[in-house]
Amino acid sequence: MSAVLINRRGQMRTVEALIASGIMAVAMWSMISLTRYPEPYVGKMRKELVRECYDYLISMAEEEVFDKVIFYDNGTIRGNWEGLMKNVLNALLPPNILYNMTVLNMTQGGEIFYREAIYEKTLNKEALTNASPEDFRLAEMSSAEITYTTRNRWVLKIHLDLAVRW
């Protein structure tokens, strides 16, 4: 009877040890999982994307891309400049980056004279983007805005959304 009892205790300890080991293993796995740094791109993406947005816009402004793409030399708006701008953005941005640019004219009609109020009017007649709105909803997205004064003294507001394609 006693021997039977002794054997039962040994088995229970074994079971306990196994359970304890299992709990420890789960705990260790959880710890490793939790203390591992988040996926680098996801972790940095917001800030970096914002900065990259500004970097792209600033470099485009410094190179007078908006003047060169949107206007002819005589200051009139180029026909289908939107396609040209998309080409520029496609060339400029990495392939896995989704973009959506909006160009707003703060200078209605092109002449700044005799203006009483300032309001924005979208200058691009078609979307300057390489993705659908659905793509942007699923992705981590950042955006930036700058003002850009053109050679013919229009003040443009350029809005750029960037997102990473997974």
């Binding site: 300890r13 700044i112 050679r151």
Partner: protein, 1134 residues
């Protein structure tokens, strides 16, 4: 079950519990690490820094855009508004710049709305280039022509957003502003200053004829100011280079200044912002005789306009000005240091090729002439020495840039006076230069401002057109020009004259002008005569057509303004008949061109005519007049009024001046010359004749050309061996008009003359009309009909000498006082026992609350002497009465009368037993009067007028007495009520005041102030003589407060000073029409007292008509024309 045994089994559970505990710790720690590591992902990134940087970046961009746009707009020089009038392009550029700038601020704020940004901007006064900046310029043509450092003035932004300093070897376009941004969620106090500029310098010019090229070294820099960054991306297309090519033949689209095509430019970048521009084959006609001049001289005049790749323009010239030393040869040699030489004023014209001209003639110089560059005319400035070449330079304000045709023959009707356009082919810079006494040479500097905010001078020369008459209101005279004879005749009858010279004080209203008698009329070319009854009328045919007067009246209101001169011209074949009952015109006889130049600030006008006969013309009654002057019009009723021009003088060929008096009767008398078959006196002539009265006159100064042309006609169309040219002087019957005229062919009866167009092909000459201040016959008349025919009487005779005119005044001068008051006392100090002697009564000196003193007397009953009067008087020993016709005494009086029989008044005294009392007498309740009463040992013969004067009110008593006849007048000035009397018994010599109380036991009190005794001038007034109508006179107290002010309507101003007849330490200021103080050195007077008479004496003293003509006529002769020398100014500060 055994509980103890059970406890022995708990060891295995402990392991489990410890494992669970350890797991819990591990999970907690790892969760914390995870949360900590990913915490930032739960917040949005705040990009304030990037936003501010982009705004800052766009701020610099908008400044660049504004500057580019502003420089390009300004380069248009003028911009036409929607209404069609020209605006200064700089104004427009500045408006657009400011608007763009404001709009950018608003747009940027709107674009970043919701980000909590506050954006502010400020204009700045930053120095773009420091004072005294030195930059070297080198000009070489194999040898060194110029090699020196040019010094530049400080260039600052002046809180103006942008500034342009162009047209210098170193030229800059600059813009700058401050930007400050505050963010509510990020950066606070962001500030940045942005200055964008383009700095362009011409550093060297070399001509290398063997290369057929000119090399120009330039340097180009951009911001920042402290460490300029070289501009290294320019190409030849960025440069516009202009050279002055003297080989160009002028014509449409052809001008000496020419822009070099880009394919003739070679650009080499030498690093560090330095370029060399090689101008290949700069000459249009390299084989021309002028080519040598280019390689030696003109190559150094280079204009370069650069547009950098930002779109910013800048324009630089290789030189900064030209200095002309102009020497007169007409007056100073003959009248050295003559203080009366005040009118030697020339109107010079300067052409873009550097030619200087005067009186339709190019002046001579031994130097090559630097060209005038091509800045907008508003940048042009002229400076001249004031008193000889060593004296200070001052800006010439009277200049204008005119537009003429390509060959400079005729002025352009449109935009005759240019404001904003560039100097170009056809431009003339017209300026005025005066030579004061003792000065033969003056220096004139033509410069062009580098500050592009420069403005045009104001136009003050008013021209007005009404009903066919153009009136020019110059500074010295008014000139009426019959522009449209037919139209003018509907309103204003006239026959033969074209211009009328009037005194500048003539009415300014045109309606009044046309009936003004004071003008001297000028007749121009005319020929032939006609006879009606027994009267011959000359001329019959008048070359005539409408004048075009410039500047043109664009807005149609009849009024237009010029600066230094107006120009009238006509070109026509029209000749009209002066026959009123047979009007008509002849188009096939004579083609004539004429021009009149009317300066604003000179005493003359210039006239030029060029007429050619179409055919051989038959003149039925021989007569051809080249020009003349008429005093008195045909429609004037004859009367010998002051406006009539009484005297004439002329220069004869032997240099003798003949003076004569015109007839004083209404009737025709020839005084000099041949007429209708009779030689009356001498008809010889020379370069001038003059017609004048006491204060006004006019002359014609004939040029050598005119004299030669007269002579040629006179010789060609001789009649019976007699040459037909002469000066004809005569009085016309109608209105007793006085004529002096240059005749080429004398008037003949029934003797035609056929003009031979080949023998006398042209009538081309110039002449001047000259304003005179007049003169009077001073020497004795004598009888010499050969010199001046008297017509049988003894009035119209020659005389020996002309006296000074009763001249009008002009220019600053001095105010001279003629004191008429010999006693004046405002009782500011106690007079009792000092200036005044008092008798009985209680006399006291008191002051009111303001500290103003007055004299008080309290009288109780009659006094012992003086007829019972209590008297205070100024003794004759101290105040002797000067001689004069009328004595005036004025005093302010205030009384308190308590009973009947009381008197108060002023006294004119011989002694205490003999005096006149000018008094107020209170006889009874219903009996009060003012009266003049004599005390001659007793009271006698009062003359009185009833008048009641209430107590305790200040009144002004004024008595006067005419010495010779004893006529006396006493008035209470404020009421205008007076009483008169006549008596000569008393010899008045002392003056005072007094009160009399007839009845003992009664008393009265009186007070006196402002006592004045004067001779021959009413003490209620101060008079200022010899001013001009429209001048303003201000009398001020010692604190500078204006007490009295009046505007002259004639030559004299009388100011009523009754309210304050004595002003101690006062000022009198005389201002002319324009508000200039005319008596700067003589404004202050110890006391301005009623009765004072002041006389304004102009510092300018005018010569009589003859002396003036002699002094100035050579100015209008080619042989005495000025000559000039030239120096190039590379730096205006050099």
């Amino acid at each position: 079950m055994n509980p103890i045994s059970f406890s022995a089994d708990e060891h295995g559970q402990i392991i489990l519990i410890m494992a669970i505990t350890l797991v819990a710790v591990i999970l907690t720690v790892s969760t914390m690490i995870y949360i900590t590591a990913t915490q930032h992902l739960f917040f949005n990134y705040n990009p304030t820094r990037e936003i501010i940087l982009t705004i800052d970046s766009d701020f610099e961009r908008v400044l660049t855009r504004i500057l580019a746009n502003a420089t390009q707009l300004y380069n248009f020089t003028s911009i036409k508004t929607e209404e069609g009038y020209e605006r200064n392009a700089m104004e427009v550029a500045r408006e657009v710049a400011n608007l763009t700038f404001s709009y950018w601020v608003l747009s940027t704020q709107a674009a970043h709305a919701g980000k909590g940004l506050s954006i502010e901007t400020d204009f700045i006064d930053e120095t773009v280039q420091e004072q005294g900046k030195k930059i070297r310029l080198k000009i070489e043509d194999g040898g060194t022509i110029f090699n020196d450092e040019l010094t530049y003035q400080e260039r600052k932004l002046e809180q103006k957003l942008f500034k342009l300093w162009w047209y210098r070897p170193n030229s800059i376009s600059a813009i700058g502003a401050d930007l400050s941004i505050d963010s509510t969620i990020g950066v606070i106090g962001w500030k940045s200053r942005h200055i964008v500029f383009l700095n362009f310098t011409i550093t060297a010019i070399r001509s290398v004829r063997s290369d057929d090229a000119v090399y120009v070294d330039v340097s180009v820099f951009m911001e920042p100011v402290d460490h300029p960054k070289p501009v290294n991306d320019l190409r030849a297309e960025n440069f516009e280079v202009y050279v002055f090519d003297p080989t160009v033949t002028l014509g449409p689209g052809k001008f000496w200044w020419k822009r070099m095509p880009v394919d003739r430019l070679e650009l080499t970048y030498n690093g560090g912002g330095n370029y060399t521009v090689k101008i290949n084959s700069p000459l249009e006609n390299p084989g021309s005789s002028n080519a040598e001049d280019f390689w030696d001289f003109y190559f150094s005049f280079i204009l370069i306009r650069v547009k950098d790749n930002r779109g910013i323009l800048v324009e630089a010239y290789s030189y900064s000005g030209v200095e002309y030393t102009i020497t007169e040869r007409a007056v100073e040699n003959y009248y050295p240091n003559n203080p009366y030489k005040t009118r030697e004023t020339y109107i010079f014209e300067l052409l873009p090729n550097g030619t200087l001209s005067w009186n339709f003639r190019n002046l001579e110089t031994s130097n090559p002439r630097p060209p005038v560059p091509l800045p907008p005319v508003k940048q042009i400035r002229l400076q001249a020495t004031t008193n000889g070449p060593g004296s200070e330079f001052r800006e010439i304000t009277l200049y204008q840039v005119e537009r003429w045709d390509d060959r400079y023959l005729w002025p352009c009707e449109e935009k005759f006076i240019e404001g904003y356009a560039r100097i170009r082919n056809g431009s003339k810079i017209v300026f005025q230069l005066n030579y004061p006494p003792g000065v033969r040479e003056q220096k004139v500097r033509l410069i062009w401002f580098d500050d592009c905010d420069a403005e045009m001078p104001h136009r003050d020369f008013r021209l007005e057109y009404r009903e066919g008459i153009q009136v020019a209101f110059t500074k010295h005279y008014t000139l009426m020009l019959v522009v449209d004879r037919e139209l003018a005749n509907q309103y204003y009858h006239h026959i033969d004259w074209t211009m009328s010279l009037l005194h500048k004080d003539a009415p300014r209203d045109i309606g009044a002008l046309t009936t003004y008698l004071g003008g001297i009329d000028y007749i121009l070319l005319g020929y032939d005569a006609y006879r009606s009854g027994n009267t011959y009328f000359i001329p019959y045919k008048i070359p005539e057509d409408d004048w075009t007067v410039l500047p043109k009246d664009d807005d149609g209101d009849g009024v237009v303004y010029a600066i230094v001169r107006a120009v009238a011209f006509r070109k026509t074949n029209r000749v009209v008949s002066s026959m009123e009952n047979a009007p008509g015109e002849f188009r096939d006889e004579l083609y004539h061109e004429a021009m009149i130049q009317i300066p604003y600030d000179a005493s003359y006008f210039l006239y030029y005519i060029n007429a050619s006969w179409f055919k051989d013309v038959d003149i039925q009654y021989s007569y051809l007049v080249f020009g003349g002057i008429i005093g008195g019009r045909i429609e004037d009723p004859y009367q010998q009024v002051v406006e009539k021009y009484k005297w004439g003088s002329l220069l004869t060929p032997n240099g003798i001046v003949v003076n004569g008096t015109f007839n004083n009767l209404e009737g025709y008398i020839p005084h000099r010359g041949y007429v209708l078959g009779t030689q009356i006196g001498d008809g010889s002539y020379s370069h001038w004749f003059a017609l004048y009265n006491e204060s006004f006159g006019a002359a014609i100064f004939a040029s050598e050309q005119m004299i030669q042309t007269l002579d040629k006609y006179g010789k060609t169309y001789k009649k019976g061996g007699r040459e037909t040219d002469q000066v004809f002087v005569w009085t016309r019957g109608s209105g007793a008009s006085r004529f002096m005229e240059y005749d080429a062919i004398t008037v003949e009866v029934n003797t035609p003359t056929k003009i031979n167009r080949y023998q006398t092909p042209k009538i081309e000459f110039k002449a001047a009309g000259f304003l005179l201040e007049g003169g009077v016959q001073e020497g004795d008349k004598f009888n010499n009909d050969g010199m001046w025919n008297d017509g049988g009487g003894d009035f119209a005779r020659p005389f020996t000498r002309v006296g000074d005119p009763q001249a009008t005044v002009s220019g600053p001068g001095e105010l001279r006082l003629e004191k008429r008051a010999f006693i004046w006392d405002d009782f500011s100090i106690n007079p009792i026992g000092s200036s005044m002697t008092v008798t009985s009564g209680t006399w006291r000196w008191e002051q009111d609350a303001a500290g103003n003193g007055y004299l008080r007397v309290d009288a109780n009953g009659p006094s012992d002497g003086w007829g019972g009067m209590c008297v205070a008087y100024y003794p004759s020993g101290t105040y002797p009465m000067p001689s004069g016709r009328t004595i005036y005494v004025l005093v302010k009086e205030r009384h308190s009368i308590t009973a009947n029989g009381q008197h108060v008044g002023l006294l004119m005294i011989e002694n205490q037993n003999r005096f006149y009392s000018f008094e107020y007498y209170h006889a009874g309740t219903n009996t009060q009067r003012i009266r003049i009463i004599r005390y001659f040992n007793n009271w006698q013969n009062p003359s009185s007028v009833s008048l009641s004067l209430s107590d305790n009110v200040w009144r002004t008593f004024m008595g006067s007495r005419t010495v010779n006849n004893g006529l006396m007048n006493f008035r209470v000035a404020e009421l205008g009520i007076s009483v008169s009397a006549t008596n000569t018994q008393i010899n008045v010599g002392q003056f005072g005041v007094g009160v009399r109380v007839e009845n003992s036991g009664t008393s009265m009190t009186a007070m006196f102030d402002d006592f004045i005794a004067c001779v021959d001038s009413d003490p209620r007034y101060v008079t200022i003589n010899d001013v001009n109508p429209g001048w303003r006179i201000e009398i001020k107290d010692q604190n500078g407060n204006t007490v009295f002010s009046s505007v002259a309507t004639g030559r004299k101003v009388v100011i009523d000073v009754l309210s304050r007849p004595i002003i101690r330490n006062g000022r009198i200021e005389v201002y002319d029409y324009a508000g200039n103080l005319m008596n700067p050195g003589t404004t202050d007077f110890d006391a301005i007292v009623g009765g004072d008479i002041y006389r304004f004496r102009s510092s300018k003293t005018f010569l009589n008509a003859v002396d003036q003509c002699m002094m100035y006529y050579r100015m209008f002769l080619d042989s005495y024309a000025p000559v000039y020398e030239i120096r190039i100014l590379y730096s205006p500060l050099s």
